[in-house]
């Protein structure tokens, strides 16, 4: 698959230096191209393919790291389902937040947070022990933050 598209500098508004680049077949997080642009202060520019989204990572002088999403929408419908006639309530109820419901949600949210923290810690530990290269690709979101850290553009910082 090759996708020609215009790439812009996410850090400066007036930037006009579009470039056409080709994307090679890729899976998961892949660094596709690096561009050094002498007219701006960008030091490194990386395009990432990340779980269905294109992202750019740019390291700039004095501005630290900028990540922005390219406006390439990967929209798709993965599944559909009919509901037979007569089962849906004629007048749907509006969701109301009761105290019991709030407690339930708070508990759920807390668990999710705990989970994310836990995964993050695991990822950190794995990175410390230098195991990240050996372990198979992982799927949880927070672990992918770890993969980001391995990319050259981040290493440059």
């Amino acid at each position: 698959m090759t996708i020609p598209f215009r790439l812009a500098n996410p850090c400066s508004r007036g930037f006009q230096g579009f470039r056409f680049i080709e994307l090679r077949p890729f899976r998961r997080t892949t660094v596709i191209d690096k561009i050094f642009n002498p007219t701006s202060k960008i030091l490194k520019f990386t395009l990432l393919w990340y779980e269905g989204v294109f992202e750019t990572g740019a390291a700039t002088e004095g501005h630290g790291l900028n990540l922005s999403r390219l406006n390439i929408k990967m929209s798709m419908i993965t599944a559909i389902q009919w509901v037979p006639r007569g089962f849906a309530a004629p007048f749907p109820t509006k969701y109301e937040l009761t105290e019991a419901e709030f407690d339930r949600i708070a508990e759920l949210a807390k668990l999710q947070l705990d989970d994310a923290n836990e995964d993050l810690e695991d990822a950190k530990e794995a990175a410390k022990n230098g195991e990240s290269s050996k372990s198979p690709p992982r799927k949880t979101e927070s672990m992918e933050k770890d993969e980001y850290a391995l990319l050259p553009v981040f290493a440059a910082m």
Binding site: M1, I3, P4, F5, R6, L7, A8, N9, P10, C11, S12, R13, G14, F15, Q16, F18, Y50, E51, G52, V53, T56, S68, R69, L70, N71, I72, K73, M74, S75, M76, I77, T78, A79, I80, Q81, W82, V83, P84, R85, G86, F87, A88, A89, P90, F91, P92, T93, K94, Y95, R104, I105, E107, L108, L111, Q112, E118, K139
Partner: protein
């Protein structure tokens, strides 16, 4: 003459600082114009809500004389009218991925008006892979456990199965979670343990779901963790786990009559029809030439089932004629329906022998299955991208409506009865075409709403906001 009712406390100070100020202008305190009057008033406490006491509060809007009840009531009525679902409407649910966020969009399909519109939506935790409608209320307060319900089970890349109430709008959390995320105690206990295959919850993506229409509290799930699990929706716990497949299990379907028999297809290239009451029994097993994509029972003949595969082939089997071993499998017929992955197919529940297939080759084909075998009726490309879903409407009145969706994020309802080839192939079973309907009536969602949604997307600085059309070739 003084323009100000009082002299600001700082005026003396500023006049000292600017001694050359004209006396005539002095009285206007122009030099103090930018000064905050209270600046030097250290003794006065500053409070944002200094005047709060003068506001009056009312426990509810009804007590407030300034809120007119009639108007509010009218607004509510209007809202309710907008959301009203008629007895002749079908809900059509689409699991949509946009960028990295995923949502479930509930559409209303109004057949008589050729209208398909978004009713409501809610966010999903991960990339959705399968949907299964449930007619049983799950964790709904004030409702009998075996009353009729309108619920949806959703399998995603996450191992947890979520169950949502479709009759409630603006909801942010599911009614129940089947899996590790739903069991608080279990979760706390197992904290640091690695995620291993087990009997209580899935540990990998859920690829297929099947609700049992006879035993309404039973839901079967197939997962990438190679297990099939049986859930009790009354307790929202896993009743039993089955591991007779050796690779990812990607499709499950309950037998319509023998309600305890579950058909399952797997990437291990076999299909199993197992009695869920006997988890340890030897299971009948059929083999196919490549990875299974979808399995489905023939709704018009309970002894037969269909299997679609990665290589675009459909196999038709007799459940009573299981082979000695999977390599000795002999199908009643096989059909090379597409050249690419046969991602979805559906057998019309009302019209016998009417089959629809959708493939990654972007085409949708309709087939007429006769005693001699299937023959193609028509092949169409509706520009939905790679086809991920093709489903016939479930009711008699809308039996010829086929919903199709795919990798372009669009969904259409195709009235196949308005197609010439379909009309001649299924002559006698096709209702009269309504006056004014042209050839191939196709109903899609109005573009207006989707465009306004798109505007919310993140933009790149400068001219980078210009979007690019996805080009798949």
């Amino acid at each position: 003459m003084h323009f100000f009712p009082y002299s600001p406390p700082c005026s003396k100070l500023t006049s000292k600082l600017s001694p050359g100020l004209d006396d005539d202008l002095k009285e206007y305190h122009l030099s103090d114009y930018d000064n905050d009057d209270d600046e030097d008033d250290a003794g006065v406490k500053m409070s944002i809500f200094g005047n709060v006491k003068s506001l009056s509060y009312h426990e509810s809007n009804k007590e407030d004389p300034y809120i007119r009840l009639n108007e509010e009531q009218a607004d509510e009525d209007e809202d309710a009218e907008d959301l009203q679902i008629l007895a002749t409407d079908n809900l059509l649910l689409a699991a949509k991925v946009q960028g990295e966020s995923a949502e479930l969009v509930a559409h209303v399909y109004e057949d008589s008006a050729s209208n398909l519109y978004v009713h409501h939506d809610f966010p999903l935790p991960g990339m959705p892979l399968c949907l299964e409608w449930l007619d049983l209320p799950v964790n709904k307060q004030g409702v009998e456990k075996d009353a009729a319900g309108n619920f949806l089970a959703i399998g995603t890349m996450d191992p947890d199965i979520e169950i949502w109430d479709l009759d409630t709008v603006d909801c942010m959390y599911p009614n129940a979670i089947l899996g590790r995320g739903g069991d608080v105690k279990e979760k706390k206990k197992k904290k640091k343990k690695p995620k291993k295959k087990n009997d209580n919850y899935h540990v990998d993506a859920v690829l297929s779901l099947a609700a049992n229409r006879k035993h309404r509290n039973l839901l079967a799930s197939a997962s990438a963790d190679k297990t099939v699990k049986l859930w009790d929706l009354n307790t929202t716990t896993c009743a039993k786990s089955y591991s007779y497949h050796t690779d990812k299990v990607c499709s499950v379907a309950w037998h319509k009559v023998e309600a305890t028999v579950l058909l399952s297809g797997s990437y291990d290239r076999t299909v199993v029809a197992a009695d869920m009451r006997a988890p340890d029994a030897q299971v009948p097993r059929w083999g196919v030439e490549s990875d299974v994509e979808t399995v489905q029972w023939d709704p018009h003949n309970e002894n037969f089932f269909f299997v679609s595969t990665e290589r675009g082939i459909i196999h038709y089997h007799d459940v009573r004629a299981a082979p000695q071993n999977p390599t000795a499998t002999k199908a009643i017929w096989t059909l090379q329906a597409h050249d690419d992955v046969l991602s979805s197919f559906d057998v019309n529940p009302v019209i016998p022998g009417f089959l629809a297939t959708g493939s990654f080759d972007k085409s949708i084909k309709l087939w007429n299955i006769q005693p001699t075998g299937p023959s193609m009726v028509v092949s169409r490309n509706f520009d939905v991208g790679k086809v991920f879903a093709t489903t016939f409407a479930p009711d008699q009145e809308v039996a010829f409506r086929l919903a199709v969706a795919g990798s372009r994020g669009t969904m259409h309802v195709w009235d196949t009865s308005t197609n010439k080839a379909v009309r001649s192939a299924f002559a006698g079973r096709v209702p009269d075409v309504p006056v004014g309907a042209g050839e191939d009536r196709l109903v899609g969602v109005d573009d207006d709403s989707s465009e306004s949604e798109d505007d919310g997307g993140a933009e790149l600085g400068g001219n980078g906001g210009e979007s690019m059309d996805e080009d798949e070739d």
